[in-house]
Symmetry: C2
Subunit: 394 residues, 2 copies
């Protein structure tokens, strides 16, 4: 009966904790409900609301590209909407609009922040989206780590993925993939909406990617860490100038400070410290940084992945000449892979096009991957699933 | 001009990403605003709402102990409420109620989940609450790690804190503190609302706690991991039976399966493998498990911390005799510390009282800490700040 006693005690604790700690209870409905036919039903209990809508990337966009919106219909105080068609496999996000007020779904605890927006998420499985799920496969470790950055003068935060087996094989050494976020992002972006841990676990389990360490950086050099994780407290993140900014030495940027990260990683992790075992990649601003960092340090990386970015040659002749010279040096060293990916409707499509034209003109080899859609997370997950299997294969 | 070009490109990316990726923009007001006098103002833009309220643990509780609620007042569509008095230092949580619908504050991205409720949080600094902040001190690493549990037959997830210097001192070995959650919690509970990483970083920086490894377990043995982190997908967590449950061998419980965790930790981390370098502690259900695990393995731990729990002696004579015998064995081995903490209004206050009476009767030494309030996270943070400094000090 010992176990029973314990169980009863635990149940009492449950009840009391629920009663004492929780706020006015949520009106519990199932939302979202993924139906057997892969349509999805959203529900919200809001008897006093006049209008309830759902908005998210699973709905067709409006005529000017604005996020799709659908109306929920009320029955006895419960609002509901079911998608007209089954949804394709994907990780989707949404919010409700209650009389115009954007809110999170109170019946879905699963939310992911993107800059200053917090979205609810759900996943339709199948196809590529199965790579975004936690599956019953060996899992790597995800660590939030602080490194000393002498170039900026304070400690900063990284998210580091080590592959399954890293702890169990204390003699094994691994290649390293440095993965950069976009503007407004931070060291949480690629692990959250980017699903890096799930994608890497699944690709490695399927034998499609080599076991590797993935280092997710924070490129906002005046930040210690993501909002809420730094000594500036629970600040509200923003796309522009951060309110949680420290002063950094003049002229310091992510490119100049990058070696501090590499030094920390190679000192504290079991890494293979050669060019053919280092990759870099990033989305949007992180794609531009992939270009900049890799040409600044032409002996460091053998794999470059430029997602939804391009090459911006300066109008200033001296700067332009320097960039061209750096690229010439980088390509003279025969990097194994320069991988460029863009969505067909991305506003940076032409930037990538001119980059390819320039590379073609110079005879710089690269591989190109084009997807649908534009400058969105859906593409950045796809690009990771396409790029990671190409790394460290010889 | 190279940097300028890059900046312009980055800004373009900002604008476009914001336009393409974000949903209908939040009406931006500052909420919560911590005023210079430590009153706090909450704001919400909801011009069509009839009634807006805020509810949270910073408000005085109602006559029957229910969570306090305050009304916001509308001016030109913006609702606002400022606390009547300055708030004491603490990590607080809150939600809004819009015409009765409980929502998160759309202007505050900082939310913490407790079982199936997601709360917004804010912190008033000063006093003990400074231990709950990220301060400019050396930070430990927080890792989500999967261990193999042969006793249950599948891999399960842990949250592990390693102290500052762990990576930089590859020969150093550390004591280990196993920290258990309460009913409805999981391996995310103690790191989230529990603020374990911040508390440990700060206590260690102040020289008040020894550098130690803290292992935060998941005691729900039929779960692989917290909701959303297991192969069951984005399930909704609940206090009771989990929908994300695997089948486990009959008779297996957290006490029986605990050695799998210890084995993993001692094999894969640089631990000091002796009784005087192992501590255990937990809150509520985790407090009961602290009693159970430590008496089941009387040679394992020298430090026991029972937070907001007690001793439940079975009505079954054989079970009662076994428990008494196990405790007699445990105390015959002179553990260094048995620490018992409870809040004055906790519904388990009498359970702790009878535990103390029993220990007194048997002559089992223990230390006792009593705080205000009841069965709430505020106390569980306090108990960690009080208990951790007592560990591994000789």
């Amino acid at each position: 009966m010992k176990k029973l006693t314990l169980m009863i005690a635990a149940m009492l604790i449950c009840l009391s904790a629920a009663a004492q700690q929780s706020l006015q209870s949520r009106a519990a409905v199932k939302s979202p409900e993924i139906n057997p036919d892969k349509t999805v039903t959203f529900r919200l209990v809001a008897p006093k609301a006049v209008k309830v809508q759902v908005t998210g990337d699973f709905l067709p966009a409006g005529p000017n590209g604005q996020q799709g919106i659908a109306d929920l219909v009320e029955t006895d105080g419960v609002w509901a909407y079911t998608t007209e068609k089954p949804l394709d496999p994907e990780l989707y996000f949404y919010n409700f609009l209650v009389d115009g007020l954007k809110i999170n779904d109170p019946n879905n605890v699963h939310m992911i922040r993107d800059v200053a927006n917090v979205f609810n998420v759900f996943l339709i499985d199948g196809g590529r989206a199965d790579l975004y799920k936690v599956n019953d496969v060996p899992h790597g470790t995800v660590a939030r780590v602080w490194y000393d950055s002498p170039v900026v003068g304070f400690d900063r935060r990284l998210t580091i993925y080590t592959p399954p087996g890293y702890e169990q094989n204390p003699k094994a050494k691994y290649p390293v993939f440095y993965l950069f976020h976009g503007a407004g992002g931070d060291e949480e972006a690629r692990i959250a909406l980017g699903r890096t841990a799930q994608i890497m676990d699944n690709l490695i389990a399927q034998g499609k990617a080599k076991p590797m360490i993935v280092v997710m950086t924070n490129e906002n050099m005046n930040q210690e860490a993501a909002a809420g994780e730094s000594s500036f407290g629970f600040t509200q993140p923003s796309m522009g100038a951060s309110s949680a900014a420290r002063t950094i030495p003049q002229g310091v940027d992510f490119v100049k400070a990058f070696p501090d990260i590499q030094k920390y990683v190679e000192k504290n992790y079991r890494t293979i410290n050669k060019k053919s075992s280092r990759a870099v990649g990033g989305l949007s601003m992180g794609g531009f940084y992939t270009v900049s960092v890799s040409k600044e340090y032409p002996d460091t990386f053998d794999y470059m992945g430029v997602f939804s970015a391009g090459l911006s040659l300066s109008q200033d002749p001296a700067d332009k000449a320097k960039t061209e010279q750096q690229l010439a040096v980088q390509f003279s060293k025969n990097p194994k892979l320069y991988w460029i990916a863009i969505g067909r409707t991305d506003f940076l499509y032409d930037s990538t096009k001119s980059m390819r034209a320039y590379f073609d003109e110079k005879g710089y080899p690269y591989k190109y991957y084009e997807s649908g859609d534009g400058h969105i997370w859906r593409n950045w997950r796809i690009y990771l699933t396409e790029y990671a299997p190409l790394l460290f294969q010889d």
